[in-house]
Subunit: 204 residues, 2 copies
DNA sequence: CGCTCTATTGGCCAAATGATCAATTGCCTT
DNA sequence: AAGGCAATTGATCATTTGGCCAATAGAGCG
């Protein structure tokens, strides 16, 4: 039970240490949820004393917000970079939806759900959540608008498609990944997008 | 800061006291969220000592689960009772959707989101959530099946409609009730139901 | 009216949390 | 190589949490 004293005491430059903490905080968020991001838990994971975390992040809520923002922005960037690498607008949308339906995303869905709920009592986290949602909205609206799809209002279409995916996310969180309801909702997202944009995604 | 000593000490019968606690626990869940349901918070609200709560609910998680179950079941019962009072199947569905889109439901949506997230770490609450979801699924499936709508699979239609409403709930939680996105999602739920069941709800 | 039963109290514990601060010790500069 | 700056430690605080238990006192029964 005694606290492990770290013999490998390393003195990092402030930037490195801060980046290390942020990275480890992201891991904690994805693996154990926002509630598990405590000073001591994170410090133990870093092999460091709790007070040091406080030194770089005077209030842990700021760290939680920054870590969530990093994860969310990273995911958006990765998904849209991959999508935009496709040649045609339809292929871009298809790629995006396929990636979004990937079971691998379950962890991120859990985090989003966690963030949605926790943001009720945490102002900074709430700001990060709203920013991330706006980013999603902007990127998808742009993708749709630039694609020249048969929709009268790209922004509204983006909103609806994102809501579909949100609903799917909740199911993914509650049910097991291979539950029957999952396939049903998968189909609903696909046909919803097809109807919204007037295209055929060519997915099963 | 001194603890208020209650001069109005009343001795209730076990059933009454337990029911009182459960009722107050429901209020706390709806007003302040699951995280606010603590021994001391609830005890203060009851004008009672924390230990007494423990006497009736040896572990507070059981109380949280029971309170959530009570709220969820009560809501389902109220909504479907009101819906079934309508004369025609289409009117029944319309009534249900209208009630579900009521801004008043925001508090319940918050609670559901809270429960979805918290159920990750609370086994009993998770059980209550799953039970409540199944109840929703059963009631709506039955309503659709008995209505003779033009859908090949009433259960699947119910699943899809519920997912639409879940997505809407998240928006209701994050955005303000009068945000522009809200009207968009309202419309999506309505047209989604209309397409799913092959009817016209006659809503704006 | 008085007695008994038990609902209720008040006090306590151990654990975990965020936060602060002087003291130390490692790295960089000169 | 030596000194100084600051990254890091270790210790401590105030709070809050769930839970336990002996003592008390209220309500109903005889």
């Amino acid at each position: 039970m005694a606290t492990m004293i770290n013999p490998n005491r390393k003195r990092l430059k402030p930037d490195e240490r801060r980046a290390d903490m942020l990275a480890k905080a992201c891991e904690v968020l994805l693996e154990d949820g926002i509630g598990a991001l405590t000073l001591r838990h994170l410090a133990a994971r870093l092999g460091v004393v709790p007070g040091l975390v406080n030194h770089y992040f005077p209030e842990i809520e700021a760290l939680a917000a920054e870590a969530f923002a990093a994860i969310a922005e990273s995911e958006v960037t990765a998904l849209f970079d991959a999508a935009l690498a496709e040649p045609t607008p339809t292929a871009q949308i298809t790629r995006l939806i396929v990636d979004l339906l990937e079971p691998h995303r379950r962890g991120v869905s859990l985090l989003w759900l966690d963030a949605w709920q926790a943001s009720r009592n945490r102002a900074q986290l709430r700001g990060a959540v709203i920013t991330a949602m706006d980013l999603w909205q902007d990127r998808l609206s742009t993708l749709i608008a630039n694609g020249g799809f048969a929709t009268p209002d790209p922004a509204a279409s983006a909103t609806r498609i994102l809501a579909l995916i949100d609903g799917l996310s909740i199911q993914a969180v509650i049910d097991e990944p291979d539950a029957p309801g999952h396939a049903i909702l998968r189909g609903m997202v696909i046909t919803g997008v097809e109807r919204e944009l007037g295209i055929a995604l060519g997915l099963v």
